[in-house]
Amino acid sequence: MPNTRDIRRRIKSVKNTAQITKAMQMVAASKMRKAQQAALAGHPYSEVLNRVLVSLRDLVSEADHPLLESRPVEKKLVLLVTSDKGLCGALNTNVLREAASLDSKSTVFVSSGKKGSSFLARTGRDMIADFLLPDSPTFLQTKAVSKFCLEKFLSGEVDEVSVLYPKFVNTLTQKPVLLSLLPISKDKASGIDHDDKSSGSQFLFEPDADEVLNAILPYYFHFTVFQMILEARASEQSARMVAMKSATDNAKNIVKDLTLEYNKARQASITTELLEITTAQMALA
């Protein structure tokens, strides 16, 4: 028979836990709204950018710009985007499982997020850079990350650059996605319906094709990485909110069970006491 005092103590501690997870849930919910808005706000822009790039891609050949040129892939660079903090359900685990399945010999990693870097260090992967980004990163901050990857690609150290991040599907669902960004190829830039209106017609470039490609292709890469990191942040906060909500619910269930057990124990002890008293009375009478 468990001691009533022990049960009381457990109820109290579980209630405390519930209070903390509830608070974390609230914080994550408000951060999530902001992060989701930030991630969604960029969609029209990337849509237009994608469309432009798709129509542009038809008019230029691989040789026109180093970022379009696909080389035989010997080394791959993977930008691993994870969260800095835990307590967000299976979010990081899912992403890291994906990372673990990559061939460790031909893959080098660039990490953003403490969970990812500690995983890479623990499993002895080849991590060439680790970037710390704040909760809501600006374009300039993520540009430092994407610029690093871009330079590695241009210098020929790696032949492919991809990003592994938790894609935001909706508040309840986040999916780890490995997306190859460089070299920029036709099928990678699409993602929206191909618009046939522009192909075939001659495009005019001002000042000239080289200059425009030189500006728009790196920009496309930087912006896509920025967008992905924002999405990863939205995923993180959503996952945390959901995880904390289920933790709070679980804690409440435990409190309910424990309270029942406590009441039973209390009643049992009262019954025993009553029995003792009546027995004593009967013995005296």
């Binding site: 001002e206 425009v212 500006a215 728009i216």
Partner: protein, 136 residues
Amino acid sequence: MPTLNLEIVTPEARIFSGEALMVTAPGVDGDLGILPEHMPLMTQIHPGELHVTTPSGDIFLAVGEGFLEVLPDRVSVMTDMAESDSEIDEKAAEEAVERARKAMTEKTLSGEELATVQSSLLRSLAKLHVKRRTHR
């Protein structure tokens, strides 16, 4: 009267989407006036004033750096800033110009930083330009 489909987007939002009769954009090689049925064109734009003539009136926007894609029936403007004159805070823009000028004369900035300050100076100047033109 033929119209073209104009879309102006920034990383933060879709600023404008709709019909336009004419678009005048600050291209790298000078201002570009675009009418419907323009030849397909792809160019960069500089901080400056974007003038849109719509069937319901004129719109002036201060835009930052970006890209302009022109198709016979569609114009897409991608830029890092697009503010109409009512959104521009003249005083804040003036202060920003002052700060940027100071930073460029005083400090010895390097590469990326200098480019950032320069582009922010050009953006603020573009804002002031748009703001003041409506005052005249």
